[in-house]
C-alpha cells in the first residue's frame, strides 16, 4: 500500500478501517541468502539497501526483542555530518545525502527536519579548532559556517552569552543538519524492506552460529530454531561483544550506557540542535514540544539500559550553564541505551576473521545519524565483498595496524570517546 494524500483521503472515506500493517511479522524459514542479526535501524537499513540497490531479497532480519526497541528508539534523533577527519566525513556526508532523500525513497514520513546543528565555542582556541573542522567539511563539499556571537544571538537569544566562566563567542553551524523521527526511520525501513520480500523476524534471539568443517559461518542458531544463511551480518551495536564471542571473536569494543532525557512539552523555543562547547550537553526540541537532551556516557561498562544519577546531574548542570531559562522546566523521562564504545570512537564495517560473518559495530553514541549510510555500506559489503568507497577506513584491523580514526584525539580508552 503506497502512502499518499489520495490514499489518505480514500481511507478517510472508509473511516480508516482499511489500513494494513506496515510490515509482515514473519516466521523464520529454513534458510536465506543473507541473515542480518539485529533489527535496529542499521540492520533494517542494510536489508532495504540489499533489496533495493543489490537486488538481494532473500534476506531475513532477526531481532531478539521487537523492532525499534533498542537504541533505534533511545537516541536523541540528531542528524549531521560535521566531522573533521577524512575517514569519517565522506561517510557521514553520504548519510546526510541519504537522509535528504529518505522519505521519498521509503515512501514514509520520517519527519526529517533540517533545522540546523550549532556547536558553540567559548574560547579562542576552540574557535580555531571549529574553524579548522568547518574548513575540513567544506573541502569535502559539506556546508559549514562559522558564526560570531552576534549571529548566534540572532538565532538563540536565550543563551547565557556573558557567562563568567564560559562566555559564548560564536558557533559552527551546519544548516543541513537537524533531526529525524527515530521510530519512523525504523518503521519506514522495515516497511520498505518487507515490501520487497525481506523477512523481519522478531523475538528471535541468536544463541550460536552454525559453522561448517572449515569454520565458515553458514547460519545462526536462534531461539526459534536454526536458520541457514549464505552470509551473516551482525548489526547488534551494544551487544556486539556478546554475540561475536559466540563466533570466538574478541573485539576492540566496550559496552557503556548513555542516558537521554526529555522535558515536558513547551511552546517552540529552541530553533535547531544546540551543543554546549564547554561541557557535554546538547539539546533540540521535538515537534511535540519536549526538550530532548543528553550528554556524556556514565563511564563504566554496562549492559543495564539505565544509568545513574551523577550523569543526570552533570547533564542538567551543563544545560543550566548554557541556557538558565530551562531551570524551571520539569524533566519528563530519562532512559538509557547500551553503546558499542570502540577504542578510537569510530565504527567498524568490515569482514571478520571468520568466513561468512560480517560486522557492523562500534558506533559509540553516534549511530543514529549514520543509519542510512551504515545500511548502504554494510549492504554493499555483504553484496560485493568489498567495502563501499565511503567506508574504506572502517576496518576491523585498523587497531592492529595503527590506522585508527580518533576524531576526538583522546587515545585508546573506550569510555573517553
Amino acid at each position: 500500500m503506497r502512502y499518499s494524500i489520495v490514499q489518505l483521503a480514500a481511507q478517510a472515506l472508509q473511516r480508516h478501517r482499511g489500513w494494513q500493517p506496515a510490515w509482515r511479522d514473519a516466521a523464520p524459514r529454513d534458510g536465506y541468502d543473507v541473515v542480518i542479526v539485529g533489527g535496529g535501524g542499521h540492520g533494517l537499513a542494510t536489508a532495504w539497501y540489499l533489496a533495493k540497490v543489490h537486488g538481494i531479497t532473500n534476506v531475513a532480519v532477526i531481532e531478539r526483542g521487537w523492532i525499534g526497541g533498542g537504541n533505534a528508539g533511545r537516541n536523541t534523533t540528531i542528524i549531521r555530518s560535521n566531522y573533521g577527519l577524512p575517514g569519517n566525513e565522506p561517510f557521514y556526508e553520504w548519510s546526510m545525502k541519504l537522509w535528504e532523500g529518505l522519505e521519498q525513497d521509503l515512501n514514509y514520513n520520517a519527519m526529517v527536519s533540517q533545522r540546523g546543528v550549532l556547536n558553540l565555542y567559548h574560547s579562542d582556541p576552540q574557535r580555531d579548532a571549529y574553524a579548522r573542522r568547518g574548513n575540513a567539511m567544506r573541502m569535502h563539499g559539506v556546508d559549514a559556517e562559522l558564526l560570531n556571537a552576534d549571529a548566534v544571538r540572532k538565532m538563540a537569544p536565550f543563551l547565557d552569552f556573558d557567562n563568567a566562566r564560559f562566555p559564548i563567542q560564536g558557533g559552527l553551524l551546519q544548516a543541513r543538519g537537524g533531526t529525524a523521527r527515530h521510530d519512523a526511520v525504523n518503521w519506514g525501513y522495515a516497511r520498505a524492506a518487507s515490501a520487497l520480500g525481506v523477512d523481519i523476524i522478531q523475538n528471535c534471539e541468536v544463541t550460536g552460529f552454525v559453522r561448517d568443517t572449515s569454520g565458515t559461518v553458514t547460519g545462526v542458531e536462534t531461539s526459534r530454531g536454526t536458520i541457514l544463511a549464505g552470509k551473516v551480518g551482525l548489526a547488534v551495536a551494544g551487544m556486539t561483544s556478546h554475540v561475536a564471542a559466540m563466533a570466538g571473536l574478541r573485539l576492540p569494543i566496550e559496552s557503556h550506557v548513555l542516558q537521554a532525557f526529555v522535558s515536558e512539552g513547551l511552546k517552540p523555543l529552541i530553533p535547531g540542535v544546540i551543543t554546549f562547547g564547554a561541557g557535554h550537553f546538547y539539546v533540540s526540541q521535538s515537534d511535540k514540544g519536549g526538550l530532548v537532551f543528553g550528554g556524556d556516557i556514565d563511564g563504566y561498562n554496562s549492559y543495564a539500559q539505565r544509568g545513574n544519577l551523577p550523569v543526570v546531574e552533570d547533564v542538567c548542570e551543563g544545560g543550566m550553564a548554557l541556557m538558565p531559562m530551562i531551570g524551571r522546566v520539569r524533566l519528563l523521562r530519562s532512559w538509557g541505551g547500551i553503546m558499542d564504545m570502540s577504542f578510537d570512537g569510530s565504527p567498524i564495517i568490515d569482514h571478520t576473521p571468520v568466513a561468512g560473518l560480517y560486522l557492523n559495530a562500534g558506533w559509540c553514541y553516534g549511530g543514529f545519524k549514520a543509519t542510512p549510510a551504515s545500511g548502504w555500506c554494510f549492504a554493499h559489503l555483504l553484496a560485493t565483498d568489498s567495502p563501499h568507497e565511503t567506508a574504506t577506513a572502517y576496518r576491523l584491523d585498523r587497531f592492529r595496524t595503527g590506522h585508527v580514526i580518533d576524531e576526538k584525539g583522546v587515545g585508546a580508552q573506550a569510555n573517553l570517546h
Binding site: I253, S255, N301, Y303, N308, P310
Partner: protein, 86 residues
C-alpha cells in the same frame, strides 16, 4: 552506585574515577601482537566484571571492584595492590 572502599567504607561512586577493565596486564616485552591485545581487545562481559576504580576524592587508593554490568550491583571491592595498604 556506592562502592565499598576497604579503606574508607561505603562511599558514593562520584568520589571515584573509573579506569575500566582490570583484566588486561601490560606485556613485558615488545611483542606487537601482545601489546595490541592489551591495548585494544576486551572480553566486555555481560555479568560479573572486575574493574579498576581510583578513589580520587577519598583515600586515593586504586581498587579492584567486582560489579555486575547487567544491573550495576557491586559485589565487592579490594585494594588493587594490597601490599600498599599499610
Amino acid at each position: 552506585m556506592r562502592i565499598p572502599c576497604p579503606f574508607c567504607g561505603s562511599r558514593d561512586s562520584r568520589e571515584f574515577v573509573s579506569r575500566g577493565d582490570a583484566a588486561p596486564v601490560r606485556p613485558a616485552g615488545d611483542d606487537a601482537e601482545a601489546m595490541f591485545d592489551y591495548v585494544y581487545l576486551r572480553d566486555n562481559p555481560a555479568g560479573l566484571f572486575e574493574e579498576l576504580w581510583y578513589h580520587a576524592q577519598g583515600c586515593r587508593n586504586w581498587l579492584r571492584v567486582e560489579r555486575n554490568t547487567r544491573d550495576h550491583t557491586i559485589v565487592g571491592a579490594r585494594l588493587a595492590r594490597p601490599e600498599r595498604a599499610a
